[in-house]
């Protein structure tokens, strides 16, 4: 019986093999070659591409990417908790409406959303004009790290909310009331009861947010201008501007390894946290 149930997983494994394992193997191969004007995949055999990853320029990009993604994840979690909590504690009708409201951004292309921000925060936009009226001289709110973080948070927020909802759903309102009855302020109730009991949802939400943010391309490319450079932008430029596939491949593999290590560490940490 169990073996036969396992068969249901086979199609997915085949997909994974065809569209993940094989291409990654290809990437690994390319990443170990020299750039060549005659062959996209490069020639020869070298570790130089990986050495370059650890040079200042690339290392800065990795560091900035991790930092921005972590900030976006933190802000996302802070914003998502109240949203998810309100959704979980509402009556069925309100719950449906609120869930849809959180979902709407997911149904819009990230390009459209980013151009929305572009108009809102950019040159001559309403935000800038308002600040100017208040006597603050700015030309644009774009092309800064904060503007990129705003874009990343908006993109990742629904994923965080939908990870937290099922976790919060499992917490009985009576348990919160019990904490209050024992003298816990709302904040203490959150810290001592809600947070530990929803740690699993928080971890999976944080991993999603971090993964999405650290591999974002459109948001930093459009909202960050020249001021911000993240890993995906660099890979894109290496491929399409510098035609340096081996460098792009090595950088991709580095990104993959980095994310895998972080995800593994986060899962370990959260398991230890929920075991108490």
């Amino acid at each position: 019986m169990r073996a036969r149930t396992g068969l249901l997983f086979v199609p997915y494994l085949l997909l994974l093999l065809a569209f993940l394992v094989v291409p990654i193997a290809g990437l690994v191969e390319i990443s170990a070659r020299n750039q060549s004007v005659t062959s996209i995949g490069g020639v020869g055999l070298t570790m130089a591409n990986y050495q370059r990853v650890f040079e200042g320029f690339y290392l800065d990009i990795i560091f900035d990417t991790v930092r921005l993604a972590a900030i976006a994840t933190l802000i996302g979690a802070t914003l998502a908790y109240p949203l998810a909590y309100v959704i979980v504690r509402s009556q069925p009708l309100a719950r449906t409406v609120l869930t849809c409201l959180v979902m709407v951004p997911l149904m819009t292309s990230v390009v459209v959303k980013v151009f929305g921000w572009f108009i809102l925060l950019g040159r001559g936009g309403p935000a800038v004009r308002m600040l100017q009226k208040l006597g603050i001289e700015v030309q644009t709110l774009l092309n800064t790290e904060p503007s990129v973080v705003v874009g990343l948070v908006e993109f990742a927020l629904p994923f965080m909310v939908f990870s937290l909802v099922p976790a919060l759903d499992r917490i009985s309102p009576a348990v919160e009331e019990a904490a209050a009855n024992l003298g816990a302020t709302p904040f203490q109730t959150f810290r001592l009861v809600i947070l530990p009991l929803s740690a699993s949802g928080l971890t999976s939400g944080a991993l999603l947010c971090f993964g999405i943010s650290s591999s974002a391309y459109v948001v930093p490319a459009i909202m960050g201008g020249h001021a911000v450079r993240m890993i995906a932008q660099q890979i894109y430029d290496d491929v399409l501007v510098a035609f340096d596939w081996p460098a792009a491949a090595a950088f991709s593999i580095a990104l993959l390894v980095l994310l895998s290590v972080l995800i593994f560490a986060a899962l370990r940490a959260s398991r230890r946290a929920t075991d108490v």
Partner: protein, 357 residues
């Protein structure tokens, strides 16, 4: 007269346009054990939740120690609540569940350990201190919930059916333990139950609720011996309820009662039952003594025994009264043997009272 520690004045609670509570007024003295008793859905839990602050009151006020707390947040009220659903913290061990409130009060490590240990001892769970709630039986969880509230020594403990998931034997044991604990610590308990035996056995005062209102309030003996209404007479213990067609004074605090053409009986009452609109007679089965046809006298009810049921220490006899309507339930009397045919019922105990409809 000491000031009541808990005082409810005309408390009401509505859901939309349905009033589920009130207006309700009662008070509790320091060290008093009060039971809120009533059928399922009458608003007992809602009333406790109002006192603890989890339900806003729509009218009236709740005073703790003379201070109006109706608008005070739950975490400031300092009343212990044992939830009907236990509401233990699933991520904490038994010991840490019990320590939760102490931790919030920044109690020192040693004192916390000592008080948690003592309290677990009291509820007989010392050996399970390191278990998680999911690893406990319902009865054990309930005792953790009691310990968790008790360890803070609140002036008032609110308990929502704290013994409902224990087996009969443990329930009797915990009944005595809880009562002893409450008396030793001189705490005020407001205890919700729909088990009348429990209310009668444990309480100093019983508040009987029906559909969100107080039906009657008094000591267990008052409630049992002098029910005000048919509802109380029927809900607390069991009772034979008979509609009266005429009451006449018979002098000396006695009243001559006519039920129908064939049945006339004399009952004692301090006040004129006609003035308080008491047109029903409640007679406890144990206050009816039953005899054969040869025992018929001037003041007795007559009828036919139509069946009996053996109950160990007594036998219940079912009697159809002469002249009773055909759909009226039979009268129940306690006897030490079975009876057949024509019988006479005489009132022997204090259990015959006039009640309102």
């Amino acid at each position: 007269m000491t000031r009541p520690i808990l005082n409810l004045v005309d408390v009401t609670r509505d859901y939309g346009n349905a009033t589920v509570i009130g207006p309700v007024s009662f008070s509790a003295e320091q060290g008093e054990f009060i039971s809120l008793l009533g059928p399922s859905g009458c608003g007992k839990s809602t009333l406790l939740r109002c006192i603890a602050g989890f339900e806003p009151v729509n009218g009236g006020r709740i005073e703790l120690n003379g201070k109006d707390v109706s608008r005070e947040a739950p975490h400031r009220r300092r009343v212990g609540l044992v939830f009907q659903s236990f509401a233990l913290f699933p991520h904490l061990t038994v010991a840490r569940n019990v320590a939760f409130g102490l931790r919030l009060r920044r109690t020192g490590k040693e004192e916390t350990a000592r008080r948690v240990g003592e309290t677990l001892e009291l509820v007989g769970l010392s050996h399970l201190a390191d278990r998680y709630p999911a690893q406990l039986s319902g009865g054990q969880q309930q005792r953790v919930a009691i310990a968790r509230a008790l360890v803070l020594r609140p002036e008032i403990m609110l308990l929502d059916e704290p013994l409902s998931s224990l087996d009969a034997k443990l329930r009797l044991h915990m009944r005595r333990e809880l009562r002893a604990m409450q008396q030793d610590l001189n705490m005020t308990f407001v205890h919700v139950t729909h088990d009348q035996d429990e209310a009668l056995a444990m309480s100093d005062k019983i508040v009987v609720l029906s559909e969100g209102r107080i039906e009657q309030m008094g000591s267990p003996r008052e409630i049992y011996d002098r029910p005000d209404t048919r509802f109380i007479a029927d809900f607390i213990g069991s009772s034979n309820l008979l509609e009266i067609s005429e009451i006449e004074p018979a002098g000396d605090g006695m009243w001559s009662v006519r039920l129908n053409e064939d049945q006339r009986i004399v009952i004692a009452a301090d006040a004129d039952p006609r003035q308080s609109g008491r047109h029903w007679l409640s007679i406890r089965p144990e206050s009816l003594s039953i005899g054969g046809e040869d025992t018929v006298s001037g003041s007795c009810l007559t009828g036919t025994a139509i069946g009996h049921s053996y109950g160990g220490d007594r036998t219940e006899i079912f009697v159809r009264l002469d002249g009773a309507q055909s759909d009226a339930p039979p009268i129940v009397a306690h006897a030490d043997r079975s009876f057949d045919g024509r019988v006479a019922l005489t009132i022997t105990g204090p259990g015959a009272t006039f009640v309102r409809a």
